[in-house]
Symmetry: C2
Subunit: 146 residues, 2 copies
């Protein structure tokens, strides 16, 4: 399925966000939500299983196991503040797969290194690791004011 066209202002909101929340679910339907650093290039979101300390090896992480069982995912980028008239969120509903090599893997790592200077200190690796590619199929947007 071709990724949907994302309206320019939604694309800007997704590009500007610093943290997203990724929802996956295992084969039994148990959801898991975790915060992710991500890059959105107008078409896909990419998130690295990165060098931040993890409880498990990358391939054993629950989000990765979930995607291997069930490719359906949800990615939320939101803005919260106490002035509720400015609340806003965008959800991408779609599917995910895992990249571990090749030109798109390197491209995704470079996007992440460009967006997050913090990754340079963590030695985010252009030659090994795992990247989650999220392919949006539907865009939900909400704002308090709309």
């Amino acid at each position: 399925m071709t990724a949907p066209v994302v309206a320019p202002e939604v694309g800007e909101f997704l590009k500007a966000g610093r943290v997203a929340r990724l929802g996956t679910a295992d084969a039994a339907g148990q959801p898991l939500v975790v915060p992710i650093c991500y890059a959105f290039d107008g078409r896909h979101c990419y998130s690295a299983i990165d060098a931040k300390p993890k409880r498990q090896a990358p391939g054993r992480l629950k989000r990765v196991l979930n995607i291997r069982q069930n490719a359906r995912v949800s990615v939320l980028v939101d803005h919260y503040e106490e002035e509720w008239s400015r609340l806003r969120y965008v959800v991408l509903q779609g599917r995910a797969d895992l990249l571990s090599e090749g030109s798109e893997f390197t491209y995704a790592v470079d996007l992440l290194l460009g967006k997050y200077p913090q990754y340079r200190a963590l030695d985010l690796d252009r030659r090994s690791g795992l990247v989650i590619r999220i392919i949006p199929e539907r865009v939900i947007q909400w704002s308090f004011a709309a």
Copy 2:
């Protein structure tokens, strides 16, 4: 199942958070993540289908339909900042049900009114509406520094 004992510092983090992200999944395993206002009383999380503008009537909201199909949920409370050494999150894995009346419904609405003064202007209703009750069964916590 009895709710697990939440360590005091985890409980404080959950009580202090102003926004959580709720993950549900429909019967086909499609996850959905949305931001929620919530109150945690040390045992359960409560979130109202409230008076913020919604795309659907409360009972038709996708998160509610999902919970009716599949009670398994994930609730994430996290702290993001650019100084990654201070990143932290807590995830509650468990199940949810819906309250629409009775003493626990009123108790939950009062907790939410106490935590969020914004609800007073929105006329969050103590007599009607829907509250999602989240019953944690497992607590996952992560911090960069741990």
